[in-house]
């Protein structure tokens, strides 16, 4: 039902868009008609795929590094009060600097290649993962911790078997946010300076008034972003079943 609604509203939007281009006779380099965009998608599909693969690589590597660093930070924040005192303010301050503002610096330091874009994506993903996991680790049910204490569990054992699993639902929210913002990091990096990637392609097409190609790249980016988000959401739902979505699951069971 939901999919059908989405498809219908998309089709209606495309029809309105097509009508606007017909009725107003807008030049195609200002607003290309959907048909032009579709034909551009078809003609340029190899070019789009080539740049897409670069962007996807940047996003995926960013997700992996961001998650790993976020995980390590959250664990060390929880583990040591010294680290907490020194690292936590830095973490908060670092978020006051827009990642977009330091994108030119990253390109300057790390070059025009994939590395600077991966660094951008990593930076953007790191914070939601670290913050939500740290929050989850702090909010473990006291009863569970006390029970573990009476059972003679070591701190490591408590972390592994109780704190971490208990923090997973919180961290999965962070990962979902990360998955949604990861493409922004990669594309901004490509805008600032790159020789490949969808962001680069969009900028390039824009500069040459190939607006239809720009729209085609935009469409590709949207599709892949949605795909990454829903894949991660699906994996998380499958892996972390102990905090069911009360908006979906319970309601459907009630019906």
């Amino acid at each position: 039902m939901m999919l059908l609604r989405v498809i219908i509203s998309l089709i209606v939007m495309v029809i309105i868009w097509q009508c606007i281009t017909w009725l107003t006779d807008t030049p195609h380099y200002i607003l290309p008609s959907p048909l032009r965009v579709i034909s551009s998608l078809w003609v340029n599909h190899l070019l789009l795929l080539e740049h897409l693969s670069i962007t996807v690589l940047e996003i995926c590597l960013g997700l992996v590094f961001g998650t790993v660093f976020g995980f390590i930070s959250a664990l060390s924040l929880m583990w040591s009060s010294t680290i907490r005192r020194w690292l936590l303010p830095l973490l908060v301050i670092s978020q006051a600097i827009p990642v977009f503002a330091i994108a030119p610096l990253l390109v300057l330091w790390l070059g025009y290649g994939v590395t600077s874009k991966v660094a951008m994506a990593t930076l953007i993903i790191y914070f939601p993962v670290a913050a939500t996991l740290y929050d989850g680790l702090r909010r473990t049910n006291i009863g569970w911790l006390e029970l573990a204490k009476t059972m003679g569990a070591s701190p490591f054992s408590v972390l592994l078997h109780i704190r971490l699993p208990a923090a997973m639902p919180a961290m999965s929210s962070g990962l979902r946010v990360a998955a949604a913002v990861a493409p922004i990091g990669a594309v901004v990096g490509e805008w600032v300076g790159a020789s490949s990637g969808l962001g680069y392609l969009m900028l390039h097409a824009n500069g040459r008034m190939e607006t239809d190609l720009m729209f085609a790249a935009l469409f590709t980016l949207a599709v892949i972003s949605l795909f990454i988000y829903f894949t991660i959401d699906f994996i998380l739902r499958r892996a972390i079943t102990w905090q069911p979505d009360s908006l979906l699951t319970d309601f459907e069971e009630l019906k």
């Binding site: 029970l147 009476t150 059972m151 003679g152 972390i240």
Partner: protein, 249 residues
């Protein structure tokens, strides 16, 4: 776990709390409390909410540090502890929850024994289920099995049935009396009938700061007692009167 200087592990004899003292900030919760548990018997500690009975139990469990001059004798190994909530871990199934202790200590998990215990508490059919698919009574049964697998001679129960409906509570009391018949048990409760049903000995905690006195009962050692017995009901009426003297019924 437990502060070593306050607990004399070598001491034989009964399990004893001596000169127990505890305060929160400036208010003294209890002082000069001397209290002992009989081996192999169920001792019920009865009192109104907030009187400090849970804190007393948590002293035995090693969950609060004893304040001087509190001394604890006769606790030779970490006791098994069960609280008001079942505290089942939602990501583990019934069998894994039962084996939580060995899992946390990274010891061998005796699955045969766990299955035996689950059979004893009537959950053989549900070993693979996650806690969210169980009723409140069933969850508490898993908690009982998890407590029993600890195989500790001392079992501490902190109002284990407070959140269970009365019908299920009755069943669980019968079960507890059966499965804990050889253990030294401290059961904290605010329900006089529960104490009369399960307690070989009944202690009452009252006053500010709280004191403990033992209730002399002559109801026999056949646990669980039948709560429709006239002498049990009479004892309940007396107990209610002494716990809430202002309530003239």
């Amino acid at each position: 776990m437990i502060k070593k200087q306050a607990i004399d592990f070598s001491s034989s004899g009964s399990i004893k709390l001596q000169d127990a003292y505890f305060r929160y900030g400036n208010s003294i919760l209890f002082e000069n409390i001397n209290f002992d548990l009989s081996y192999g018997k169920i001792s019920c500690l009865l009192g109104v909410s907030g009187i400090g009975k849970s804190t007393l139990l948590r002293l035995f469990a090693g969950l609060v540090s004893p304040m001087a001059p509190t001394k604890i004798f006769g606790v030779t190994e970490p006791p098994a502890y069960m609280g008001q909530n079942d505290l089942l871990l939602p990501w583990l199934n019934v069998l894994q929850n039962t084996l939580l202790g060995p899992r946390l200590r990274r010891k061998k998990q005796d699955i045969t024994r766990a299955l035996e215990l689950l059979k004893m508490v009537g959950l053989s059919e549900h070993v693979d289920k996650k806690p969210r698919h169980l009723s409140g009574g069933m969850r508490q049964r898993v908690a009982i099995a998890r407590t029993l697998i600890e195989d500790s001679p001392l079992v501490l129960l902190d109002e284990p049935f407070a959140s269970i409906d009365s019908l299920n509570r009755h069943k669980l009391q019968t079960l507890i009396a059966k499965v804990l018949s050889k253990k030294t048990v401290l059961l904290v409760t605010h329900d006089p009938l529960e104490a009369l049903r399960l307690g070989h000995r009944i202690f009452i905690m009252e006053g500010i700061p709280a004191k403990i006195r033992e209730l002399k009962i002559t109801l026999g050692d056949n646990i669980p007692r039948n709560t429709s017995r006239a002498d049990v009901l009479l004892a309940q009426a007396d107990l209610l009167k002494s716990l809430a003297p202002d309530n003239n019924q």
